[in-house]
Symmetry: D3
């Protein structure tokens, strides 16, 4: 039974140098449009749900291109406002081996999304008839007005009976020095409002300021996540742990904390084609599991395989279907059995 999900977030134009040249070496860029909300709505649309994006885009040719791209991804675009003048952009130069990838942002704060003022969104109609409403820590980092939109949408969603999903994804560069302190109040507001949270032990320690005597991250996780769930009344908390092997492969393991206990996925190891957006693929997997009434074990396995596949496809936005995720899940299992 397909559900209806609205995600609120900025649409970013991603301009990527093809191959392994730098911007100073190349003369060509490939562009797509993405963002946490975009990735989430796209992934859930591919899973068979109706994924809506709530955002603001300019009316000019770049805004048109963004809208057309979102439609191609399967996202419902009729709750997108048009207005403002600019679209946020980031330039991506691919790294290779010991040379890291490099991201350069354009002037994001002047974007249509970040300049959409107080009375621009009709919060009620933006989230009406939704089963889930997804909000995230990146929008929360932007400015007071955007923060206001995020919280108002959460409240309105709650009122309308939708499940509120909040992804902590704390980005240090967006909050600046002393960022955790500045962010805490807003994160607490959101966690109090949400039903499902993407959160890890660092969020708990650093942003929420929760104390722990443990030094090991896994032990911190086991201690702090249940505490946070209890403290803020969060029904489901989920996330991933990742490590990078010396051969460049990544290993990823997902967790879901629900009904007082943890479920963990297998540790999946795989090569990486395009890393960006994999966290959103995990979050989409968790929402799909909740939407379908999966057990926590099945949900976390599905979400981890969804995240793994998102590393193997081009672009930020996940494109795997439900059968493709399950087949990846099975193959990976068999690989381990051999």
């Amino acid at each position: 039974m397909p559900k209806r999900i609205a995600a609120f977030g900025e649409v970013m134009m991603r301009l990527q140098v093809p191959g392994f040249e730098t911007l100073a070496q190349s003369d060509t860029l490939r562009y797509t449009f993405s963002g946490t909300g975009v990735n989430l709505a796209a992934a859930l649309s591919r899973f068979g749900h109706d994924g809506y994006l709530v955002t603001t885009l300019p009316e000019h040719s770049l805004g048109e291109a963004a809208i057309a791209y979102l439609r191609k991804l399967g996202i419902r675009t009729d709750r997108i406002r048009r207005g403002g003048k600019h679209i946020g952009m980031y330039f991506l130069e691919n790294g290779f081996g010991p040379r890291p990838s490099r991201v350069t942002y354009s002037d994001r704060l002047g974007s249509s999304f970040n300049t959409a003022g107080e009375n621009t969104y009709d919060y009620r109609s933006a989230v009406s008839d939704m089963d889930f409403v997804h909000l995230c820590g990146i929008a929360l980092a932007m400015n007071d007005t955007v923060r206001g939109h995020v919280k108002a949408l959460a409240q309105e969603a709650k009122r309308a009976g939708a499940a509120v999903v909040f992804d902590c994804n704390y980005r240090p560069s967006l909050w600046g020095a002393d960022g955790h302190a500045a962010a805490r109040r807003h994160y607490e507001d959101m966690l109090t409002l949400c039903d499902v949270a993407m959160m890890n032990e660092k969020d708990a320690r650093l942003t929420l300021g929760m104390a722990t005597a443990e030094a090991d991250p896994d032990a911190q996780l086991q201690e702090l996540i249940p505490k946070a769930a209890n403290q803020y009344g969060i029904r489901v908390i989920a996330g991933t742990r990742r490590s990078v092997g010396s051969d460049g492969t990544h290993t990823l393991r997902g967790y879901v904390y629900k009904d007082g206990r943890f479920a963990f996925s297998k540790a999946l190891t795989f090569p990486v084609y395009d890393r960006i957006g994999a966290g959103d693929a995990f979050a989409a997997g968790v929402i799909h599991g909740e939407a379908e009434g999966f057990s926590a074990e099945r949900t976390v396995a599905f979400a981890a395989a969804s995240a793994m596949l998102a590393h193997t496809t081009a672009g930020d936005s996940p494109i795997a279907t439900v059968p493709e995720v399950f087949r990846a899940l099975d193959d990976q299992g068999m690989d381990v059995e051999r």
Copy 2:
């Protein structure tokens, strides 16, 4: 001393999405033309022989493009019939890591090759003056008329004194449910007619229905291949065994059964750029060994190195020369010695 080889088979247009995007993401395809007969004739032409293709291609622009491409590969095209309306096609999307590659076929049964009727080929002149005539299980799977062509060409080749090579390559998707039973009679006909066969223990067990008490594939091979050689009067039987490592590398080992005993190549391990056509490169290596009077040991080593190199080059059709195969053989040997 160069030999003359005729291969009978369909020319397929291969349309590949460049890079790692899917058909829904990309807007560009790179195309080549291939098929078992094409690959075989191309590989043997690169080995210095005269490789002829016997097939049917349409007269329109796609048929012209196919012919030009075959000429570029070094294949002799003057035994190709022109007629019919269509060319078979397949679309290829590259996989990455745990995401598998994906092949989508166009309407192959309406192709010029598969609609070429009973009196279209002059079998005698098609195989005249040949040292080897190559036929394969894919053409055998198409329809009764094509099967008729395959068998008639084998008989005519036999009559004219050419060595008949038959490659079992059984494709489940082409024979459908209950396929092995349907195929058996035709495979038996071909094996009875052939001098050299590409065959493995699965062909013996499943298609030919040979019984064995062994469970291990290697033991099955050791038991069934000599039996089959004896039963059908086949002078040489050859094939490969392949495994895929957890790091994505492939390991391949070739075997040649001849004069009552097996010769095995070293197990070669290598990364894979383009897997399709590697089996044909092995078969071409076996034919080259036979043509040159190599020992079975030298033949199987050459054929395995030929197959290995075919994994490292773009496109289905092998392009390595004899010196390149021998150099790969030597390098690989040294790598193992270290």
Copy 3:
């Protein structure tokens, strides 16, 4: 006030050699998805209406790619059936000056659209809530089953109160020798059912067999179109006349016959980038004029400018917006005034 339009027709994959090479010279294709129904629905979506496509597409990766592309064009895809195995394709090699462009078709009759059997479409729900339903002579040429779908949809649309639009576009290659005679009965059925027809004097003379003493095409048009409107009870008949200048520019003039009199656009002269789909842009312009209640003069001017712009954009499907069409209309006017 946006209207709702459903177009019924086949989705074709267009595979175009970039630049001016032939298929035998190049190794690259760019692909899009189009067809009369696609172009019509896309153009009307860009004009601000809700354009639906009614068709059948396979479930595999090419079908997925087609659906994604249609969404990108702004077409509503939820009345598209999934089924069958294949998608029709055509290959396009660009001509240059005295060298004509060349089109090569794949095996179109085996496509999902052309093999969709008698009980596949629910005609009633396919056209429910529509203001216009668009059908065309290309689908009518395919086979009896598709012809059945076309007529049933027209009848159902009529019953439901939608305006039926029929585009004659008679294609000689699809009807074969003696084609006009074979087609007449079906065209008469459709013209009897339709409210708006795209038709010219050749359709009247050759397909419908209407007699005229005039030799000049313009005089034939003036005589036969009113006759046909009367005979079949068609509210609006529209079309274009085109000529090609020695410098390669095209000149196009549109006409609309309505309420007993003709309205003509100015003759527009312009260079051509991509000619395919321009007739559909004209038809979409006529429908937009009808939808908006334009005068016949305004409708034909708008439709002609829409057709002109479709010659200047990449791909079959028109992409101009209403303001862009009006600006082109004005500029062209001024150019003539100078």
Copy 4:
């Protein structure tokens, strides 16, 4: 004898959709870096002079790419400041025939150039040892701080004995409603300071508010340019008149007013590959003529041919050498003689 020229202006990143697709249709951009000062300095470097750019660019990868590109153009980059965070951008979609090209800007006001504060440039060293200093009306339109830089550089150049060149190029979109009135004071300041001005009769009428009883633009030019030269004490005033033919070719004629009389180039007619930057190629031709001591007739002929060639090369920045300009001049002459 090579001269030294410094141009002050913003470096813009130009992101162009290849071919004739729109941003919504394509997925690829080609990028270069340009701007009036860039084009001017590049053109004069190609003419054998030392062209310096005075500007501010960010330190990140886009700034690096811009610097490398400027070096490739032959521009001296050691008077470029590094600072700020962003680079201005514009997206270019190519038009075709009656479909116009389209330019979309990113958030230009936040660029390094436009946020470089009052004490950032050392005006004296920026223009030291220069023969010419070039300033333009685009920088003048930005904000008060940039206007301050423009005027201070002009004063400093004057003091140091360099010839000041001012290009009026008034851009309505940058000055907004009531723009001419807002701009007048600043233009008057610059014209009073400059030795050489690029100006036409529209600048005189609209920006400077000079009255004329003439209606014909040519007559206005003949009346107002000498007046302006007199009023502001400008030694040389130059510019072009352009018209577009119905076949898409452009016709361009240059004028130079000096020593109390006009010199005109022939009217040059040519097809257009890339129009942007042609005005800067004309200005560079005028400066080259002045630098070399050409007669006004030779200067205007050279400048017009330089502008013509700039329409035929890729990118904004002119790349023709002095011999190439003279050959174009001769060929064009011969074409007329035939």
Copy 5:
């Protein structure tokens, strides 16, 4: 009835900057392989004859690539010698409008073809069984050894009963100052040996030193070509006259002098995509006419249409088939009739 034609000449690698950038602006080249002999043999192969190339190519990867490309063109490659170290190259930058195209050569004199010594070719077997042997003035310009090959092949062809075709194409840059005088002796040798010559009035006047009182080129042609035919005993002399219109179109008219009278084609006017190789397409048309026994009128019409089409296709080597040439001939005729 297909004929056998051998052409002797150098294979050049053509490296072309795509689009309209210069070598200093771009970073990409597209490469093909061509040359007068290549173009001639390719064109005649497309006309259904057996076109052989006699040349020398190196054994390395560039030589392999050249051979594969020739095969793709349909050229018989088994009379090509392998030896030497290098392949001649030229770089091509496309011009636009008043900006001319630019060709830059690599070190051509060190090529395999130009260093092939005196005893490298077996002249007899090189031209055995041929109906036509084609030689040209470009090879004649290279050095004494190559000149020796050209003359020996002509003599051997004559002896074996093949028709000798000689194309004067005199290239000033290859003969240097005082070139006509240096060339005369060699041209006279070749004209004495040939049956069919490509020659115009300039060749007669400048290279052969024939005197005329006429100033008009057409009158010179009418006077000198019959004289030359008579003087050197040439059966057929053919050539073209070309002019370039102000709109960039070319106009071309062919002539064939045979049996004491001239036949002229219509003047064909057309836009140009790729000019190089069109003269070879004309020569191939003349040879085809001779091979088929066409009347002189039909031959010259066919050859001119062949040349026209060669301007409209990518690459140096003509690719039109006989039906395509005839259709172009007819269409052009109809265009004139309108």
Copy 6:
């Protein structure tokens, strides 16, 4: 404190087949310009120094393209002579796994650099005001005239007080059979003149003919490098040792011998994107260390990381900055600690 470095060497045009096709399969090349001197000067420019190239380049379009490319790399081009006719070229086909990369040279000996005669360079001004002058064994291998330039520049540099750097890089293919014997005298001349040498134990043994009883290369290095330093009076000798792992990764360790003792870098292991030019990146690192007064340990660590990064970037010429090298150094350290 930036230093001034002049490198003397040939500029080669590198023409690379994109992806993994061969020259016979592809039709496209990407080109850049490189060479040992280019790479060295580019790397040191990126490290903040003034890198000059001393060479000769032709005046035509390829020469222009080379100069523009060198400027883009940040190299000072005003000590480059223009003259001669040709530029050296090499074609690069990428290998994959067991299939090796392949390099094919054009006729290099006819290049502008290699035909620049005895009185072409003004040695004194070529190296004036330099802190370092870099020369290498590749130029030494060309011909007597170029050898003369190399030695004269070394002597002149010595006289002017610049540190002379000599990179042995002995290339067997350039010296031919009996090459070491032919080279010895010239190497001895250069080592006697230089302050800093890039040299390994093979150079000592084979080219210089130094005897050793050790069989192990490391032991040979430890014995012979100090001897050579002593014998020729070389202040610093540096180099790298490399091995290739079975998974395709390379391991590289650098050494610097100075003040009577060796300093070694860590062994760095990494995947390889583009191997060419990495030795020059190491040499540039050594010169930077010397220029900055680093300890031998810091120098060798910096140089090794510089070499490692050069394997991960596109093109021959290193592009890493000093901060990027230090960061790679740190990251690699941490990877080892895990």
